[in-house]
């Protein structure tokens, strides 16, 4: 995928290629759903009922659809949080922890500066959310750039630290008085809430996510920095010898990834919840990683996959309510989808990685 302006593929060629991609993905999901259905059946549940319930709820009603979009919003950003570092061959599994830290720092703004007007408060919150996530990624980034420790392990470990820190704050200095059964912070002031779309629960975070997707696409395709990043991802040794500052890019990429996850965190808290609760993320970070892998790092793929995965996780809610299964069961389906992709490399969307 070069960015040489004179080479534009014909419309027909593009359609054929896209059609092949769509078919591939359909095949993946059919196989994955079948396998998942078998597991459900072994567990004594009715797979057809599960699928029917999920589809009727999500696609059959306006409210259901909007809920899917709400679920999709943080996934866009956490998938990007993995995509950006992956261009320089970094594996950011830490988006879960970065997400929590972004929520943490953003919440601090929301609770401490309650007098600010919305047009000051919101950007400030989002900015601090980004900072929280970026800072959480900084130590792993530096360790990796220095060649000391692989970022996979460090970011993973920090994933376990962040939620505990957040819980500490919620039980401690930020505890909302009067609500002793479900510890949480006080409700955010209206100025600290992200504006909603109509009477749905879809919040501004969606716009932020979509804008970031477009920026990511533009960055990688056209800019000098995208070119240099792709060079690092393709051959870090060659890029280094060509003068590209590899260390700087490694640190920046991981921190940008962290920032994106941090924004996801505060957007979810300020948009969908309006208060910080412990354990508010049902694994958005990990799911984002999955989405990015499935999408091969392509922005459009991320959009589509995020929607599909949000659909599936909505199904998880249904399964929990209707059939009494633990929510984590949805992880099985997601994992099976990933298995199918990993086991048949020919099926994966043609990304830049071998």
């Amino acid at each position: 995928m070069t960015s040489i302006p004179d080479k534009r593929p014909s419309l027909a060629a593009w359609l054929v290629k896209s059609g092949a991609v769509v078919l591939r993905y359909l095949a993946i999901f059919v196989v994955a759903f079948t396998l998942f259905g078998i597991i459900l059946w072994i567990a004594g549940k009715d797979p057809w009922l599960a699928i029917r319930d999920t589809l009727t709820y999500t696609l059959g009603s306006g409210r259901g659809l909007s809920e899917v979009v709400v679920k999709m919003t943080p996934l866009l950003l956490t998938a990007l949080a993995v995509a950006v570092p992956s261009r320089v061959m970094l594996i950011n599994i830490g988006s879960e922890g970065q997400l929590y830290m972004g929520a943490c720092l953003g919440t601090w703004v929301a609770l401490s500066f309650t007098g600010l007007p919305a047009w000051v408060m919101l950007p400030f919150m989002l900015f601090m959310g980004a900072m929280g996530g970026a800072l959480w990624a900084l130590v792993p980034a530096i360790l990796r750039a220095r060649g000391l420790v692989n970022e996979t392990i460090t970011t993973l470990l920090l994933n376990y630290v962040a939620p505990s820190l957040v819980t500490f704050f919620i039980y401690g200095p930020w505890r909302s008085p009067g609500n002793s059964f479900y510890p949480q912070t006080p409700d955010f002031v209206p100025a600290a809430r992200l504006p909603l779309l109509g009477d749905t629960r879809i919040h501004l975070g969606l716009v932020v996510g979509l804008v970031m997707l477009v920026l990511y696409w533009l960055l990688m395709k056209y800019t000098r920095w995208g070119l240099e990043m792709r060079a690092i991802g393709g051959n870090a040794q060659a890029a280094k010898r060509s003068g590209i500052p590899v260390t700087t890019y490694l640190i920046l990429a991981l921190c940008i990834g962290g920032a994106l996850a941090g924004v996801a965190g505060i957007a979810e808290v300020a948009g969908a919840h309006g208060r910080l609760r412990p354990g508010f993320s049902p694994g958005f970070g990990y799911t984002g990683f999955l989405i990015n892998w499935l999408a091969g790092g392509h922005p459009l793929g991320i959009l589509v996959m995020a929607f599909v995965v949000a659909l599936i996780t909505s199904g998880g809610d249904i399964l929990q309510i209707n059939q009494g299964l633990p929510f984590a069961v949805v992880d099985i389906l997601l994992a099976i989808t990933l298995f199918v992709v990993l086991a048949r490399p020919a099926l994966r969307l043609k990304g830049k990685r071998a």
Partner: protein, 519 residues
């Protein structure tokens, strides 16, 4: 074709290959080759890079499978489909990049290949077997030493011991002298001679004619995938071998270019007492003092692993100066980045372009822009001016006389064309200081020639070149000055006319400290 009344003691060959053909995508490596290998004989396979020698022997060793043809051992046809099977037939091969595991000890490496290793290892028994064989053929090594701590020459001994202890009777050595200094080569030949006395059959793959004339009993010359001719030592001479190796005359290397402009021009490179801090097993440089003036080629000789590559890396900035100071074009660059060095006018051409200089899946055009992205960036970096990049790339290729497609992925190019791409990228902007690090390694003869000519042309325009190479012939032919590296230090500095490869070779292996080191 083999002369039946030749030197070998036993007339019937130990191994025969008949009508062996093998092709890879795009190249016919072996074209109906016939070859006989006899016991008690050193049989040299001579030919240039790419002539098909390694491929043929890898087929014998079971590493590749021939497309057609037949192999017989002791007169009976056999099929060899894996190195394991080859070793069962007492064939052993020492590869160019030694197949040793650096983290294992000598004993562990050898044990891995022993054919009848018991399930529970008996370290002492293995060690005594090693020592016994080593004593017999003068291949002393310490069995408990880690291979990573051995020199290349010692590692080669381990490889040969490995073959002997796994009962090989037919030994194939692929370019064994590439990494050895001249006196180590002599030692190797003595070992081969004593093996020959004991009835081993030895195949020596090489492109060095002089060695062949020194030690081989029978010489088969390969050219373009075919056997150009087989001679006995009595029949062979340098002229005849050259004739067989090359079918047309190569243009002579224009080494005598116009003498560069006067020496008042400022020093391009100065290293003052420079040292590095290496990680792991890599060599550490210390006390390096070097000056490079415009219009001169300084050759850097050394056995690989003694700091030559690190020297080039320090000049570019890949390795940081842990001690001392570095000056480029008169200004201090000790702590400055690679990009700063490049912008100031330093170019860098490494070996293995696909590994070190190019991004395999990016197009040629994109690769050619990588070292100068700031030149083609517009709007502060938001956009790249590909039109300008394309025209500059075309102009550069034309100037050098190369033809390389711009819109194909780099990995689809041959090694020679890749190196040409890198040469244009690095030299077309007219750098004043060029670091060439093993740039002709593994290249076919025409590409190597083109690379050397590009360096000479650059010198003629007043650039300075630091030429790092393992090929003493190349260094002697091209350098105005020659420095020798050993164990991370500069141990000698000469003009090629004032010394011989043998002397340089001794310095390369630390056999002698030079009396002439420039401050």
């Amino acid at each position: 074709m083999t002369d039946p009344t030749s030197v070998s003691a036993s007339p019937a060959p130990l191994a025969s290959m008949r009508a062996i053909s093998k092709s890879f995508p795009g190249v016919l490596a072996n074209d109906r080759i016939d070859l006989d290998i006899h016991a008690s004989e050193i049989h040299a396979l001579l030919g240039e890079n790419g002539a098909g020698k390694s491929t043929l022997m890898k087929i014998l060793y079971g590493f590749y499978r021939a497309d057609s043809g037949e192999i017989s051992m002791h007169g009976r046809p056999v099929s060899i489909f894996s190195p394991h099977e080859a070793r069962a037939m007492h064939i052993g091969m020492v590869f160019q990049d030694l197949a040793l595991i650096p983290a294992f000890t000598v004993a562990e490496n050898i044990a891995l290949f022993l054919p009848h290793l018991p399930a529970v290892l008996d370290a002492r028994a293995i060690e005594s077997r090693i020592n016994e064989m080593a004593a017999r053929y003068d291949l002393q090594v310490r069995p408990r030493a880690l291979v990573s701590q051995l020199s290349i020459g010692e590692q080669q001994k381990v490889e040969i011991l490995k073959l002997l202890l796994s009962d090989a009777r037919l030994l194939i050595l692929d370019e064994p002298t590439r990494v050895l200094a001249p006196h180590e080569v002599q030692a190797l030949f003595r070992v081969l001679a004593s093996l020959r006395r004991d009835g081993f059959a030895i195949v020596l793959i090489t492109h060095k004619m002089k060695e062949v004339l020194e030690c081989a009993d029978r010489i088969s010359v390969l050219r373009g995938g075919r056997v150009a001719g087989t001679l006995t030592r009595a029949e062979a001479s340098e002229a005849r071998l050259l004739e067989l190796m090359f079918d047309k005359k190569l243009p002579p290397l224009q080494t005598q270019g116009p003498t560069p402009a006067g020496t008042e021009a400022r020093t391009l490179l100065e290293l003052r007492d420079v040292g590095t801090q290496a990680v792991g097993a890599a060599p550490t440089l210390s006390g390096i003092n070097l000056r490079l003036a415009p219009g001169e080629i300084v050759g850097v000789a050394g056995v690989s692993g003694n700091g030559q590559r690190e020297l080039g890396d320090v000049v570019l900035g890949i390795e940081r100066c842990a001690a001392g100071r570095k000056f480029l074009f008169g200004q201090e660059f000790t702590r400055r980045s690679i990009r700063a060095a490049r912008t100031a006018g330093v170019a860098y051409i490494p070996e293995s372009p696909l590994a070190l200089a190019a991004v395999p899946w990016m197009t040629v055009l994109e690769n050619m822009v990588l070292s100068r992205t700031q030149v083609f960036a517009r709007w502060g970096g938001l956009r790249m001016d590909w039109r300008a990049a394309r025209s500059e790339a075309r102009l550069g290729l034309e100037r050098f006389g190369y033809s390389v497609a711009l819109d194909v992925p780099a990995r689809s190019l041959s090694g020679g064309n890749l190196q040409r791409m890198v040469i244009v990228r690095e030299l077309a902007p007219g750098p004043q200081l060029i670091v060439a690090s093993y740039l002709t390694r593994g290249l076919d003869v025409h590409s190597a020639l083109a690379a050397r000519q590009a360096l000479l042309a650059a010198r003629a325009q007043g650039a300075g070149v630091l030429l790092i190479s393992e090929d003493l012939e190349e260094l002697f032919a091209l350098s105005d000055r020659l420095v020798v590296m050993f164990a991370g230090r500069m141990v000698g500095e000469f003009r090629p006319a004032d010394t011989t490869p043998y002397e340089v070779g001794r310095l390369m292996t630390g056999a002698e400290v030079a009396h002439d080191v420039h401050p």
